[in-house]
């Protein structure tokens, strides 16, 4: 049997013709219904359909977050067990992951920085004591790594809980307001969560992370020089360069700590009574999309992240004593900052170092005392 293709197409066109009226001829009633009913459905249920799509989207991300949270908890437990095989009380780890800090009231912001600093120090002490109780036989470096891994697990746990809260609130109240807001910020939350999840192997193995580039630059200058502990987990070295005296400060490596550079500056200036003529801070900085990782830039101001306490204190001392405050930054993404250092970032240490010495030569004079601070987590970086 021979089928004529042109005849077949013509017959389909004739059958479908009532659905796409060309005007002129009268149409059967059901054709009009076919167009009007969907319009009413979308008018009445459009928002619910949209909400269902948003909920599916958020739910997928939430499941992914849950698996990352579970993975980080398992990783933390396995790491602690590798240090302390006798550990049986897992409840203590869960308690630690639920640990919280209540920020001071800010109705009257006067003096809030010292209050925040007090609470942060208290929290750090508490967490360190808890980690020590989980692995009493661990050395300081292992304890700091354990602390880092638990911090990541806690951060992922918190992200999961907050996202789940808003998701369930949206579901319960059938409010588009919650769900759409959540859907809009979900890519940023997932980016942070994935970065945290990928940071765990580096933290467990004690590999330097991108954020450690500042301590890496300063650590090299400290080699074969006497180092004194100037503040908690923070070391100081002195270095004579071209008629200037350089005071080098970094967190004490190779453990995973950021030290207390702000306390170190305070001690150097106020307690030791050293006249500082210039401060240079070297730190990793988040790059903008399109910028190259490992690019080095110089600027003015206190290059230090965190909640703001450290920056406040450094700015305070610099302003009171009229000390010029310079910054050298090494650009990288959030993922690069908390995962094993990439080659292009490690290689930027040389360029950052050259930039620092050029700044010393150009911005200072012989006889000056210059404070150079390597800011960041010194995991896997000694001195």
């Amino acid at each position: 049997m021979v089928i004529n293709l042109s005849d077949t197409i013509a017959s389909i066109q004739m059958q479908a013709n009532p659905l796409f009226p060309t005007g002129g001829e009268s149409q059967p009633w059901w054709v009009y219904l076919l167009w009007i009913i969907p319009i009413f459905i979308f008018m009445l249920y459009g928002q619910r359909i949209q909400m269902w799509i948003v909920m599916q989207d958020v739910s997928r991300s939430l499941n992914k977050l849950k698996s990352m949270q579970d993975n980080s908890r398992e990783e933390a437990i396995s790491y602690i067990k590798s240090v302390n095989p006798n550990l049986t009380n897992l409840e203590r780890i869960d308690m630690l992951m639920e640990h919280f800090t209540i920020t001071p009231v800010n109705l009257d912001p006067y003096g809030i920085v010292s209050k925040i600093q007090h609470l942060i120090r208290l929290r750090d002490d508490r967490i360190r004591a808890e980690v020590r109780a989980l692995a009493p036989q661990a050395d300081e470096v292992t304890l700091s790594r354990l602390e880092n891994v638990l911090e990541v697990a806690t951060a992922l746990h918190m992200l999961y809980k907050v996202v789940r809260h808003f998701y369930l609130m949206g579901k319960k109240t059938t409010s588009m307001f919650f769900l759409v807001q959540l859907q809009m910020i979900m890519p940023l939350i997932m980016q942070s969560a994935e970065a945290l999840n990928k940071a765990i192997p580096a933290l467990k193995n004690g590999q330097p992370i991108g954020d450690g580039i500042g301590p890496m630059v300063v650590g090299r200058l400290m080699l074969d020089r006497e180092k004194i502990v100037i503040a908690r987990d923070t070391v100081l070295s002195e270095y004579d360069y071209n008629g200037r005296r350089l005071y080098l400060v970094k967190a004490k490596g190779p453990g995973g700590t950021v030290g207390e550079p702000h306390t170190a500056i305070e001690k150097i200036v106020n307690e030791m009574g050293i006249r500082i003529d210039m401060i240079i801070m070297i730190d990793a900085a988040l790059k903008l999309e399109g910028e190259k990782s490992g690019e080095v830039a110089e600027g003015i101001g206190a290059a230090i992240g965190g909640i703001g306490v450290e920056r406040f204190q450094i700015e305070e001392i610099a302003t009171k004593r009229n000390i010029p405050l310079y910054a050298v930054i090494i650009k990288q993404s959030i993922l690069e900052a908390i995962t094993t250092m990439k080659k292009e970032i490690a290689e930027a240490a040389d360029k950052a170092s050259r930039t620092v010495f050029r700044m010393i030569d150009e911005y200072s004079k012989q006889g000056d005392n210059i404070l150079i601070i390597g800011v960041g987590n010194t995991l896997g970086v000694g001195q």
Partner: protein, 64 residues
């Protein structure tokens, strides 16, 4: 853009040691316990002491 392309690639971590005497660099895979500015093994060329100067991650199929 290249970063996005490399985002999900597997990485291998290398330790770079440099001889304190002759300056020759040696690249090897990272071992747990390595850290930057740790005294490394002896130099392959002059048997002098080496220093770990870098630890970094590279994509497995990197040609660099």
């Amino acid at each position: 853009m290249s970063e996005d392309n490399n985002k999900d690639k597997q990485h291998i971590v290398y330790t770079i040691e440099q001889c304190k005497v002759c300056g020759v660099k040696n690249k090897r895979t990272f071992k747990v316990g390595d850290y930057v500015y740790k005294d490394g093994g002896s130099c392959l060329r002059c048997k002098g002491n080496t220093l770990v100067i870098m630890i970094y991650a590279e994509p497995i199929n990197s040609n660099v």
